[in-house]
């Protein structure tokens, strides 16, 4: 069944916002505008509420935005919602950042085209107000001496601004409505007001927090009614009977949700979009989403079909409408991030499949409907994550392959056998761990629980560069950016090199922790989120903001290049210490000279004589494992501001390509400018020559529970997903599950298609590839990224 025409039209008209058009070296899509409405209203409220508690000011700010922002609908849409004054525009968040944006709109033509002269002037005026307490930039006052932290200081990178990750309790919202939550807040507030046994300072703070929740939740409840009123207004011009009936239904829906409980699928989907837009775009920029879509929406679908309220086709059209709506999301990104973000980072992930709290499979009709819509509508949002476990039905495997086969590079497949124990290991009770969803690219959260963290990271830990530092006393060129480790002549054995490397890793992980913690303290003080707090379990009960505590420590560091480092260490071990073919000094000299001229000989030696990760060779695979164990140990040592250890993140996105472009040669034979391997544990490009199963065996040795390894990308030819091969591919996926591979993503396009797409982008507007944790239109990627996708080892039969 094909998708409906109206949703196809809406999809095509959607301005993809967070995806920079890197192909033509533009950071910003043409026609994209900055909408200053949110920033203007928020600033007005802050000016008027000077001196009030921060949570109240933020609640009033959100309420004012929701009450007075311009609303719009698009022709023919069934599900409504917006977060800026047109679907071509994005808001800005001056409380988070201003410096880079001012610079970008002043100096870069693509950014300055997003505002007219008056708009630019107003933006500067607004920023003027926030300069003293906007988050980004304030960290400078708190960085300890001797720590590299700026963007470009490569080992850690520094931070720009950070997307937040958190998943509200959608089940609760849909079943009691915001009015039900308000009732809970009010009851608690009455209780606290009357309760003098609570220490006074705490009691007053609780009262402020609960009032802030009340103000913002009431405003969110009103938002649906504002939409209903607008639809009534717009109805006058409509003559078409069918559309009038639709509008009546939409009006009824918006009168009901999000204030009241959702009574049917349409209301549930509309409520989901309202809440998502408020918390992910209007209140704060937040990626991820993390809804278990089929688990939550399946019962509504079943009921509506059973009652005859909806046909299956009507239900599908509504799901399509949600997908189209989600594709509208986005933010204006810092110029530096466009290269790193590449695509998708503004998008939202929907989780399907998996188990309930008892461990029983939850697959239902909505699981299949969502996958069908994904394959047929070919939007790049939402991202789809499917959980597989021992009891995943055969039909679901087939639905996965049918979806992959459409070429949409969806879904990513996640392994419950790894994710559940991992969460249990972090301190989550098993019943709750089973309820996890995938948020952002590949991070787990427990929906509805007070899990919150930032996805923008405090920078990245580039492991192969730690090896470079280890062999140069912590220096990068003339600058000291790492720990002081022994000079070259004191490195007498491989163990000496290894120890120096570990010391550099430790120093870098520490730096990341410091920067992240400074950022968290600032966010806690200046950006409380009363509305989202009310939607996360425990905050109303505690009378506190979500940032005051943490249900589970999921803050993580971005670490990549493990296998470049492992290949490099294995080469040093073999060529210098085991075989004595070259001296360490010669090796270092070769790397410094980018393996050019006479040093090409050494690069060839590395290429042909030393073992590479991804070929099931213990000599090097064990090094990868040890490196990741060291990283994990260092992450464990540095805790977040809530006292929980940091964990590793596999969401490298396109950072290995971006970082590779600016970083010098490394010891694995990689020359300056070449990318590092993608994901957190994929073999280095073109070095896994022993076939896909050997790659998997290598990856399986670096066990995710022990080391935190994550992402394995596999690009498949379409033939893999033909019906004849469903059984084989099902067994393949089951094997990955049995081998405790954390998750796998498929690119299902053949090399010739990609080469042709590179040459004739105009013919391949729909071609979607999975880059690393996200999907993007191939033609929107820059040439290097395109080459990278093409070069990744193709798995062919």
């Amino acid at each position: 069944m094909a998708c409906t025409m109206r949703n196809k039209v809406l999809r095509d008209e959607t301005c993809i916002k967070s995806l920079g058009r890197i192909a033509d070296r533009r950071a910003v899509r043409e026609g994209l505008r900055i909408c200053l409405e949110r920033a203007r209203i928020m600033t007005d409220v802050f000016r008027k509420t000077d001196g009030e508690p921060m949570c109240i000011r933020r609640a009033k700010g959100l309420a004012a935005v929701l009450d007075s922002m311009t609303l719009f609908t698009r022709d023919g849409e069934l599900v409504v919602g917006c977060y800026a004054s047109s679907h071509q525009a994005v808001p800005t968040y001056p409380e988070l950042y201003w410096r880079w944006l001012e610079k970008a709109v002043t100096t870069r033509p693509d950014y300055s085209a997003m505002l007219d002269e008056a708009g630019r002037k107003e933006l500067f005026e607004i920023n003027e107000y926030w300069k003293s307490f906007s988050i980004h930039g304030r960290e400078r006052d708190y960085i300890p001496p001797g720590r590299a932290w700026r963007i470009g200081d490569f080992i850690t990178g520094g931070w720009m601004w950070q997307w937040e990750i958190s998943t509200p309790n959608y089940e609760k919202i849909l079943s009691v409505g915001l009015d039900g939550i308000l009732h809970e807040i009010e009851t608690k507030l009455e209780g606290v007001l009357a309760d003098l046994s609570i220490p006074m300072e705490k009691r007053m703070k609780m009262i402020d927090e609960l009032n802030a929740m009340k103000i913002s939740t009431e405003a969110a409840a009103r938002w649906g009614r504002r939409y209903a009123d607008m639809l009534v207004e717009g109805k006058r011009k409509v003559k078409d009977k069918k559309r009038l009936a639709e509008l009546d239904r939409m009006i009824e829906t918006c009168r009901q949700v999000p204030a009241g409980p959702a009574r049917n699928l349409h209301e549930a989907l509309q409520c989901f979009i309202f809440i998502t837009f408020i918390i992910n775009y209007i209140d704060q920029p937040q990626v991820g989403n993390g809804i278990r879509f089929d688990k939550i929406m399946g019962p509504y679908l079943e009921k509506d079909i059973r009652d005859g309220a909806l046909s299956r086709e009507q239900a599908r059209e509504l799901v399509e409408a949600v997908w189209v709506k989600m594709q509208e999301g986005g933010y204006v990104q810092p110029p530096q991030w466009v290269n790193n973000g590449g695509g998708g980072l503004g998008f939202q992930t929907i989780t399907l499949g998996g188990v309930d709290e008892t461990g029983a499979d939850i697959t239902n009709d909505m699981t299949y409907m969502a996958l069908e819509v994904t394959g047929e509508l070919q939007t790049i949002a939402p991202q789809i994550a499917v959980r597989i476990h021992d009891g995943t039905p055969k039909d679901l495997y087939r639905a996965i392959f049918r979806c992959v086969r459409t070429g949409c590079a969806q879904p990513a497949v996640f392994n419950d056998n790894v994710n559940i124990p991992r969460l249990v290991g972090l301190g989550c009770p098993i019943e709750e761990a089973r309820l996890y969803s995938i948020n952002n690219c590949m991070q787990p959260v427990i929906p509805g629980k007070n899990c919150h963290y930032r996805a923008g990271h405090s920078g990245g830990l580039v492991l192969p560069m730690c090896l470079n530092l280890a062999l140069d006393e912590g220096r990068f060129g003339a600058k000291v950016v790492g720990a002081k480790t022994p000079p070259l002549h004191e490195l007498k054995t491989f163990e000496d090199v290894w120890d120096a490397f570990c010391r550099q890793v430790q120093f870098a992980a520490e730096t990341l922790g410091i920067i992240a913690n400074i950022a968290d303290v600032l966010m806690k003080e200046y950006i409380p989120r009363p509305f989202l707090s009310a939607l996360l379990d425990g905050n109303i009960e505690k009378g506190c903001d979500m940032r005051d505590w943490e249900y589970l420590g999921l803050r993580h560091h971005l670490v990549f290049g493990c296998n470049n480092a492992a290949d490099g260490l294995a080469a040093i071990k073999k060529l210098v210490f085991d075989e004595g073919k070259i001296t360490l000094e010669e090796y270092v000299e070769a790397v410094r000279n980018n393996y050019e001229g006479e040093f090409e000989r050494i690069r060839r030696m590395i290429e042909t004589e030393t073992p590479k990760f991804g070929n099931d060779n213990d000599d090097v695979d064990s090094l990868s494992r040890e490196i990741m164990r060291v990283v994990r140990r260092e992450c464990d040592r540095w805790t977040d501001i809530y006292g929980k250890p940091y964990i590793l993140d596999g969401t490298t996105a396109s950072a290995p390509i971006g970082a590779g472009m600016i970083l010098p040669a490394t010891f694995d034979g990689r020359k300056a400018g070449e990318p590092f391997h993608d994901g957190s544990i994929s073999p280095v490009q073109g070095r896994d020559t022993s076939g896909p199963t050997a790659t998997i065996r290598s990856v399986a040795k670096v066990h995710p529970l022990e080391t935190g390894n994550f992402l394995l990308n596999q690009k498949f030819m379409p033939t893999f997903f033909e019906p004849d091969h469903y059984d084989v591919m099902e067994g393949y996926l089951r094997t990955l599950k049995d081998l405790d591979i954390h998750h796998v993503q498929f690119n299902c396009v053949d090399k010739n298609t990609l080469l042709d797409a590179k040459a004739h982008p105009e013919r391949y507007r729909d071609l979607i590839v999975r880059v690393a944790g996200y999907s993007a239109y191939f033609i929107d990627l820059d040439n290097r990224m395109q080459d990278e996708i093409i070069r990744r080892t193709e798995q062919c039969f």
């Binding site: 199963t693 033939t719 091969h725 094997t735």
Partner: protein, 305 residues
């Protein structure tokens, strides 16, 4: 290579293959073959010994291989591009020692049967989940039948499904000796006519057909026919092959339309590319054949090339 079969000569281990029997399989390719089929996609399988192989893309044009070659088998056809003429080469491998760039290398290596079995068992988890296993192919795997038997026995004893992909052109005793350790046989039937068979492959098919008849009923058989335009794609021939397959109780009768994926290998081995001599399938030809056996769907299969 030892005559007791504890060691043997192989040239490739192909993991994740799904065309050599059921499920995900690992195929071990053994060297040596009695037939000389011109469409062969593994020309490196024919000779039972190590051979010189050129990777011209790695050549820098230093010319050292040309200098050491006493038989003038190597030459630089253009600066930075070495080329081999197989008929002049005696595989003395002096050139391989001389090349520093990996442009002149070898194909084929000796391996211990036990070591080979260990290698093949590594993907057991995949076999288990897909009802796959291990396939010995070639060349003709029975060319080194004792070596093959030892590997099959080790793999089979580990509980893994085993298959051989054979031309059938081997003494019955050799074939029979592997049967206790072999769960299925992929049996090549190139043509039913002895003369046509000999003309194309250099060998009669009498032994092949005899062996097939004796094999019938003793194991699971999939007959496999490389479908070559103008040679065996005539409905009369394919009908006879299908009938033969049914007659011996084969579980499947597979047709594998000619493909040219082995084309680049000919140049690497210094051989003349044979594919120019074959015509392509005409439009609709394959579809018509497929249509012809549609009622036998499941028994007669056509693989995608």
């Amino acid at each position: 290579m030892r005559s007791d079969g504890t060691r043997g000569m192989v040239f490739n281990v192909q993991s994740f293959s799904i065309h050599d029997g059921p499920g995900i399989r690992t195929t071990l390719f053994l060297k040596g073959c009695p037939l000389r089929c011109p469409w062969c996609s593994n020309p490196e399988s024919v000779s039972p010994s190590v051979q010189v192989k050129i990777s011209a893309e790695r050549c820098t044009g230093c010319g050292r291989c040309v200098e050491v070659c006493t038989r003038k088998a190597l030459s630089l056809v253009e600066p930075g591009r070495v080329s081999l003429v197989r008929s002049r080469c005696d595989d003395c491998l002096e050139c391989v020692k001389a090349c520093e760039y990996g442009a002149v290398g070898t194909v084929g290596y000796e391996i211990d049967a036990a070591q080979a079995a260990r290698l093949l068992l590594k993907d057991s988890a995949f076999y288990f989940n897909t009802h796959g296993g291990v396939t010995l192919s070639g060349g003709e795997p029975l060319y080194q039948h004792e070596f093959a038997r030892r590997i099959l026995a080790l793999v089979h004893d580990a509980g893994i499904h085993t298959a051989i992909d054979t031309t059938g052109c081997a003494p019955w005793e050799a074939l029979e000796s592997v049967l206790p350790h072999t769960d299925m046989v992929l049996y090549d039937v190139k043509h039913v006519d002895a003369g046509r068979h000999r003309a194309a492959t250099g060998m009669d098919n009498t032994l092949i057909l005899e062996n097939l008849q004796r094999l019938g009923g003793r194991t699971v058989i999939w007959t496999r026919t490389p479908l070559i335009p103008g040679f065996n794609d005539d409905p009369g021939v394919t009908d006879a092959i299908v009938a033969l397959a049914r007659d011996v109780g084969a579980q499947r009768c597979c047709f594998l339309p000619l493909h040219r994926w082995g084309e680049h290998k000919y140049e690497r081995l210094g051989l003349v590319d044979p594919y120019g001599a074959f015509r392509e399938f005409g439009p609709g030809e394959l579809e018509r054949l497929r249509e012809r056996y549609a009622c036998l769907n499941g028994f007669v299969t056509f693989e995608k090339s």
